[in-house]
Amino acid sequence: MEPSFIKELQGIVGARHTLTDRESLAVYGYDATPELESVPGIVLLPGSSEEMAKIMALCYQAGVNLTPRGSGTNLSGGSIATSGGVVMQTSRLNRILEIDQENLTATVEPGVITSSLHKAAEALGLFYPPDPGSMNISTMGGNVAENAGGLRGLKYGVTADYVMGLKTILPGGDLLKSGGKAVKDVAGYNLSQLLISSEGTLGVFSEITVKLVPKPRTKKTMLVHFPELEQAALTVSAIIAARIIPATLEFLDKVTIRCVEEYAHVGLPLDVDAVLLIEVDGHPAEVEEDAARVREICEKHRCSFFQTAATADEALKLATARRVALSSLARLKPTTILEDATVPRSCIAPMLKFIQETAKKYNLTIGTFGHAGDGNLHPTCLTDERDHDEIRRCHQAFSEIFDMAILMGGTITGEHGVGIAKKPYLPRLVGETGLRVMRGIKGAFDPKGLLNPGKVF
């Protein structure tokens, strides 16, 4: 990178927020995606949307690549600077600008941490439902760019269901405003929805307005064991068919149960094939009734154990197994490859069976847990990046799992995004027409192809 260009960038954000030393650049080469790394040419931490716009204008003019980054928790390589250039980290823009209690909206800067918005909203009796696993560190900008989901997706939906308005800085530095606080808005193309899950390839958000909902008055947490996987899956479908939409309907498979028990000793029996964690929330009377019916359905499907938490502390304890699922799996082997193949929920049982068979076929340890209620599964391969043969088998297995997800009418990624990691599989899902339209959209926003290049397609 030209010293004069570096100097210009430094002039925008200040020397303290310009990183050019070898050590700094080296640790901005990764995000949370295993196996992927690419060192950027420079890292900038702007402190305002004006600074962001200036950086983007300057880079565009100079023909330099720019990769936006929040906290770097992306799981598909979306925040990795594939071909060097500028990494722009939005963490310093971390103000909650407004919580509007009349319109029930919150307006935030892109670097706001998801869980701090949760806290701020809940302090006012309001609720921002999307709760991705990384919510204690993920940024709102990243959540919108990836359309993050979470445990509460079944009842409350995902990030896209809450975004009402965006201010987006386009490549070149122009500001695009889309949507706002009006509930109804059909003026022109719905650009906000187009920008959500664009993975930082179309623009960088400088302001995000989201919808808030009233905080549920109460909730009830239940933990259920099943000796048969099939019955657990049927229970999930039966609960929904009974017109009950739990806030959380999470699932752990046998491999995960064994790992959890080994690591956390939470008292899960090892002869159990599946565990469901169910949480219903809402009006106290409705919660009471739903919980009773959930129990009936579980018993009908031959559950071997059913426990309802009486207190908030007990609820936390019941949720432990699910909460430590990933950590328990991750401790077993040095490398953890976490995927998010998603199927319509009626296909959960066959999909789980297929994952288990595929793991066996390729001689791999794959534990599966996830959001059973919305069909979003997390098959997690436990491996060692130094074992090249196993890594190769792992990728083959996932390729087959993605194909099966597509065949079942599902998708290759439910919440992690395509990024770099899922690029090879996207054409199988969207076909030539899908790719052509996406490329056209990319060209309209970023004719020179400089913003987060090498991602999605």
């Binding site: 990183l19 030393d21 070898r22 050590e23 700094s24 080296a26 640790v27 901005y28 990764y30 995000d31 949370a32 995606t33 295993p34 931490l45 906290s71 770097g72 928790t73 980290q89 963490s91 310093r92 941490i113 869980s115 990384s134 204690n136 560190i137 430590v324 990933l326 950590s327 991750a330 401790r331 040095p334 490398t335 953890t336 060692d384 990046e385 130094r386």
Partner: protein, 426 residues
């Protein structure tokens, strides 16, 4: 340090919101994930050890908040400390380090003598004079900071005044060893005195072997693994000579280090069993909660608890001190926001990295003031030093106490001071 420990970091970023230096800077190099990556890149041959790299690693407080947050159990603080030890091993100790870590720290009596001038400095009124005349400005900055942290020193270190064997009060339930922390004995001897009192009143015979030496934590801070191993070997042998149920300490830093003796001396079988016996005072007291409940008298105060890093993160002790505080009738215990975030003391970090230490401290102070507590209670001398100074300058002022000081006060509340009682009885 094993290479696989570095590989175990899956870079998920869960540590970032818990790292005090990341929270202040948002820099990857100032995060646990970044530090592990830096060390790994050195091992992989992608980076070399240079001043810049060591500077980034040195910004780590080793508070181990990242360990509590890590899904994979990666201890970034320890990995960094061990990496620095290995690098240090190649270059050897500097003259000053040799002097402090090898000639001073391992010898309790020399440490005690070294405190005499400081005691005189306070006793003669020189300290008052220096402070009122603003002469501190003429000190080198590091020395000035050290002076500012110095609380009122006890007349004699506890090692000199405490009996080798303190008998149990009432029926004897068991025998425990007491590990005297250097700073506790030299500066906070009243708190340690209270610790022994509490143990004795619960029926423990308390043995305090006088020959004991420093736990070695300063050596680890100074990246002197060899010095630490020598001290550990000595202490293990000394305490192995007694039949003890527990080895109790009221210093979070000592407790964390003593529990790692088994790890630092893998060849020494006795070190493992020594470490298994080590307990923080709150762990032992919590075992006797029912007994204590009957003995504690009301104290009407607003207090809040600060989780010392060496207690909460390094030893995983969180509910015990809270349970103990809640045993005191009438005490208004308020939970502190970010209670387990570092106070910026970090051993000698507040001297070595004043700018970052102050940022971390300010955040802690703001959280403490927001609780409205009159007393801040904690259980580690580093935190006591750092917070006593900081909270004496706030409005309102907040008093700082060791957990055992508060408990022993509640134990004695209602009783008139001994001297008074003697007079009236006479």
């Amino acid at each position: 340090m094993e290479y696989v420990d570095l590989l175990n970091c899956m870079r998920c970023g869960m540590c970032l919101p818990h790292c005090p230096t990341y929270k202040e800077t948002f820099l990857e190099t100032a995060s646990p994930r970044g530090r592990v990556a830096l060390v790994r890149k050195v091992q992989d041959g992608e980076l070399e050890v240079n001043e810049q790299l060591l500077e980034y690693l040195t910004l780590c407080l080793d508070c181990q908040a990242c360990l509590s947050a890590c899904p994979c159990g990666v201890n970034a603080g320890e990995l960094v400390a061990e990496f620095k030890c290995e690098e240090k091993g190649k270059g050897g100790l500097s003259f000053m380090e040799e002097l402090v870590l090898r000639k001073l720290v391992p010898h309790p009596e020399r440490l005690e003598r070294a405190m005499i001038p400081l005691r005189l400095y306070q006793k003669t009124g020189l300290q008052k004079l220096v402070r009122s005349l603003g002469l501190l400005k003429m000190f080198p900055p590091a020395l000035g900071r050290m002076e500012g942290l110095l609380p009122r020193l006890p007349a004699k270190p506890l090692r000199k005044t405490l009996l080798e064997v303190t008998p149990a009060k009432g029926e004897e339930k068991g025998t425990v060893g007491f590990f005297l922390g250097c700073v506790m004995s030299l500066i906070f001897s009243e708190a340690s005195h209270a610790t022994v009192e509490l143990l004795s009143s619960l029926g423990y015979r308390v043995i305090t072997p006088k020959a004991q030496k420093c736990c070695g934590a300063p050596n680890m801070l100074g990246s002197d693994l060899k010095g630490l191993q020598e001290l550990a070997t000595f202490n293990v042998e000394l305490f192995s000579g007694y039949d003890l149920e527990f080895i109790v300490t009221d210093c979070g830093g000592c407790g964390a280090e003593l529990k790692k003796y088994g790890h630092h001396l893998p060849e020494n079988g006795a070190a493992g069993s020594f470490s298994n016996k080590v307990r923080d005072i709150s762990e032992v007291l919590a075992l006797h909660a029912d007994d204590l409940k009957g003995k504690l008298k009301p104290l009407s105060r607003r207090v809040t608890w600060h989780d010392s890093c060496h207690i909460a993160h390094a030893q995983g002790i969180r509910w015990q001190p809270r349970t103990l505080l809640n045993l005191i009738p009438g005490l208004d215990v308020r939970e502190l926001n970010e209670a387990d975030a570092c106070c910026g003391s970090g051993g000698t970090y507040n001297i070595a990295q004043p700018e970052m230490s102050d940022l971390v401290l300010q955040r802690k102070v703001n959280n403490i003031l927001a609780t409205g507590a009159e007393y801040l209670v904690t259980a580690n001398p580093g935190c006591l030093l750092q917070l006593k100074k900081a909270l004496s300058e706030t409005t309102p002022r907040v008093k700082v106490l060791h957990l055992t000081e508060l408990l022993s006060e509640s134990l004695a509340a209602g009783l008139r001071p001994v001297s008074l009682r003697l007079k009236t009885e006479g």
